[in-house]
Symmetry: C2
Subunit: 596 residues, 2 copies
């Protein structure tokens, strides 16, 4: 088996860190307790291990290809997508009204991880469709909903997000695609969009593009951007497909990774104008797009965890098989599997601890999302919403930045074989590199963390999280085991470092913006590191407890060791990051531009 | 221009850190002063910028290809190699007796950096040839020298190193290739070697393979390995080429990077036995091979610096061109080139400081090599040899590990464009990944650092370096400028961290080998970090001094800022690494194998 879903670790986080049984008390989620979670994850594991994982390397070898406007995906992808749709996986988290299953994100996120571990290139298609569904649910008219939602939710059609243009990447104020109002209430869309994931493909009957464009006469900048639905094929009143719309794929990119996922250049309106339908109100497009973006950002964070998990599993397998050199402690008097060598263990533990830490963080964030959207109590909703919003840039930024290191270590464990493409470790390394870039680069996430999530409320939410961490430290001290004390020491130092930085950021964005933003990404990395380490510290306490109850000894012992490793080798970086941010800003921005 | 050799920074290091004028006082190097260095570097820059750099992307697009045992290199490579040879670049550091120029490594290293920045795939051919030359110079008989050396030194023929076999990678004890003695004093070689860089190609008339093999009846393990010369074409007495030898390339690898460099599987003796000539004595092959390896390891370190420099230059260019978003400080009231954004500056500064720090370290190490090999005073030679040997794993390990981060940042600065292969940033990211693997993985370098370079002498050399660093701290304090004081603070903390680790390593390799080797790579990264930071601290002092003398203000100010950035953002990691190593060993090795 090339991929085995880490169901046990996922359920540990879902049960003990995210408290799924509490979520199951929220009206609408009555059936979404631990048993459901276990059943869904098992089924999901089966599908991803059996169907999607074996297609992953195939997708790298035989990427999507373009000819005369038509994109042909990797052999096997179309059939796999049919199975994905039929299994109901696209609709897992979407409302039953439109054919979905309405499960909480706490469960859905684990499934998204699996699909991305199995086949990240494939998973991008449903990931973008999720975004389109989200936008239509929030801002679409009843007519748009009726026409498009069920087909998207059931995986009959797929969706895309069209933001980027050659001159407008992170800076959407520069979007130039234009929309001309027509007498019948529709719009004609003209312009070029680039980097459109699954902007064209052969896996579904229709593709529903969600497109940012400016209505003629709209204000300059981001306040003049509207959102439109532009279907590839027009949809008749009875739901059948009509004429081809004037939206065409003129090329796809030749990329470092995720090669099976077609990245399209789309041309709108070269033959008279593409028919578009306004979503919500004019000039509020960016707001709606952010709904898609926020869902997508969380999902990209899951991709980071997913690719790291896959890289970890492959590295472990190789390290257990490959025989080379004697162990330094003389425990084996012959060449041994390289997993016996301390540095190989260090690499594997770094990968493992990072994955488990990020997964724990993301699972807890998902639970907050569920409570924020569905809890009957308004205060609880508000509190959870604030927590979730703080988590999104961390889940996205930290889980993806660390995936670069994890997949790099994955290659490294393989030695020379890692550099040979057929081994497969290099694919994860190449695939991962997009994750820190798309749906907002790490710097964009960090700007969000600094501006909207920290400075705006004077650091209140951030400090509230630090206070929760302090409680965990107290629990660790109360536990008093050597492992708990070791973790407490690092966690306390890390939390204090984080608090210093929160003050620096919250107090300085106006007075010294260059200094604060010079430390924005280090702040994101620090905060992600601390939150992931905190969740592993919680895991350690749970594991100690369950161990005493005689539950699954091997798993619990591993959890404790992994938490301690994280604390001693990853969380330990926190004070250094604090110093860089708080004391090191000057040297970041000091160099004259001409000197570069 | 896609690459501009950083001649000024190289000469700064050569003049002020490596003290070239002192090297020029060593007999044999009388003509190798600063003027010579400047002249050679200028000439070298011209060749690399003009001839090799433009072929780099071409090599990635049209890699070497294999057909029926014949390898065809990228169009343009053969002609470029002819020019390389005619320019005398292969012989730069080799003895005049064999057609070389006999220049010090202090100058030669800069040239190697340039060639690797310009075209790493191309540069591997001369890099391996250098190793072959080194081995023959040290251990070859007069006859072997007479037959092969001049042709190699002048670039008429090229050389290879044949160590790895499918079952024998880092663990050369497992080498199985066998050598059967023949009545005429030659040997017949039988076996398979893999990962042979430029093991077959069309750029030179002949290829001289240096092959590790076991003579029948030799002892088990590494003490039974001998080194052989196995030419592709037999060489007649008059130096002309004779029959094809029984050494054939059966395939080349499909790799993540350095695609233009053919990585061959070589089959020796499938048609009766390849003719081999013993180098030196039987069973001393590993010792000789280490001569090649040590030269090659240093050179691979230069490759790390080289690819980082190239990635940095490309990122700077993009950051100055790409317009996106307004600066956070409001200094420009419109979208601006992204170099104005603090996080982009942080990424560029990280790249720059890393490159300059590693270059400074490597240049100083090269000077020690020159003194170790050529200084008339035995004590000076010995002292410099010890310093150089300590530096080799740092130059190799630290400069290549950091090149992974630098080339990753290079992609990141480009945003989505970085993920598109045609942009070129991704090539550096892919190319760099081999550097932490070949010529001994980082873990192998770290073992060397721990075992031979630290534990063996009880940490004496390491502590001697720390004592030198302490002197630089005193100079910084005496200088008293804000930049000097800021750097002194970090350098002192880092040195103390290093000293703790030296004690931990020197004292523990026998009593607690697992604990010490669990921290071997972190120790290497710590030591490399501290030495690079130290050399930048020295650079800062020099720059302050020259600034006062009115010399090249812009350059000197940039040097000072870069040194401070390094201290505040990179050197600052040292105490955390110390804690991981000294206090965190248990959690590295604790997890049961079954739990992975």
């Amino acid at each position: 088996m090339s991929y085995t879903a880490p169901v046990k670790d996922m359920l540990f986080a879902i049960e003990h860190l995210a408290n799924i049984e509490q979520i199951a008390q929220i009206p609408g989620f009555e059936d979404a307790g631990l048993d459901t979670a276990a059943a869904v994850l098992e089924e999901c594991a089966k599908f991803n291990e059996g169907v999607l994982a074996p297609l992953n390397w195939e997708g790298d070898k035989n990427p999507s290809s373009w000819k005369d406007g038509v994109v042909t995906t990797t052999p096997g992808f179309k059939e796999a997508f049919r199975q994905y749709a039929e299994g109901g996986w696209q609709g897992l988290q979407h409302p039953a009204d439109f054919g979905g299953q309405g499960l909480p994100k706490t469960i859905g996120a684990a499934c998204i991880e699996m699909t991305n571990s199995a086949n990240m290139s494939f998973a991008l298609c449903p990931l973008l469709t999720d975004g389109a569904i989200e936008a239509l649910l929030t801002a679409g008219s009843d007519e748009l909903k009726a026409t498009y939602l069920e087909k998207l939710v059931t995986g009959q059609w797929t969706g895309t997000m069209n933001l980027t243009e050659p001159q407008a990447g992170s800076d959407l104020a520069l979007v130039r695609t234009r929309a001309e109002p027509q007498p019948d209430g529709t719009y004609k869309i003209f312009g070029t969009k680039i980097f459109i994931t699954y902007g064209e493909h052969d896996m579904a009957e229709n593709i529903i593009h969600l497109v940012l464009a400016r209505v003629q006469g709209a204000p300059e900048g981001v306040k003049g951007i509207s959102l439109f639905v532009v279907p590839k094929f027009m949809v008749n009143k009875d739901g059948s497909l009509g004429a081809r719309n004037d939206a065409h794929c003129v090329s796809i990119e030749h990329k470092l990774g995720i090669k099976a996922s077609p990245t399209a250049v789309l041309q709108f309106g070269d033959h008279g104008g593409a028919v578009g339908y306004l979503v919500g109100e004019e000039n509020r497009g960016l707001e709606y797009m952010f709904i898609m973006m926020n869902a997508a950002r969380y999902a990209v964070g899951m991709q980071g965890i997913a690719i790291s998990e896959r890289a970890y599993q492959k590295a472990v397998q190789y390290a257990k098989d490959r025989v080379q050199s004697r162990p330094v402690d003389g425990s084996i008097a012959a060449s041994a599997p390289i997993i016996h060598h301390p540095d190989v263990k260090r690499m594997l533990m770094t990968m493992r601890a990072t994955v488990e830490g990020c997964r724990a963080m993301a699972t807890v964030a998902a639970a907050a999302f569920d409570a924020a959207h569905h809890h009957p109590d308004a205060d609880t909703r508000k509190q959870n919403q604030a927590f979730y919003e703080f988590m999104v840039p961390l889940v996205k930024g930290y889980s993806t930045e660390t995936s670069l290191e994890v997949t790099s270590l994955g290659v490294q464990v393989h030695g020379g074989m890692g550099f040979i493409e057929e081994t497969g470790a290099a694919q994860y390394y190449r695939d991962a590199k997009i994750l820190t870039i798309y749906e907002g680069t790490t710097a964009i996430q960090a700007n969000d963390l600094v501006g909207r999530k920290t400075a705006r409320d004077g650091g209140q939410v951030a400090k509230g999280i630090a206070a929760q961490i302090e409680k965990t430290e107290a629990d660790l001290l109360a536990s008093g085991t050597p492992a708990a004390l070791a973790v407490a020491k690092r966690l306390t130092a890390a939390r204090k470092a984080l608090l210093d930085v929160i003050d620096f950021v919250a107090g300085g964005t106006k007075a010294q913006p260059n200094a604060v933003f010079a430390g924005s990404v280090p702040y994101l990395m620090l905060a992600g590191n601390v939150v992931a380490g905190w969740q592993l510290a919680r895991s350690l306490l749970v594991a100690q407890d369950l161990l005493q109850k005689g539950q699954d000894e091997a798993f619990m012992r591993a959890k404790i060791t992994t938490a301690q490793f994280y604390a001693d080798h990853i969380l330990v970086k926190a004070p250094g990051l604090r110093d860089s941010i708080v004391e090191g800003a000057a040297s970041v921005t000091e160099l004259a531009l001409e000197a570069f």
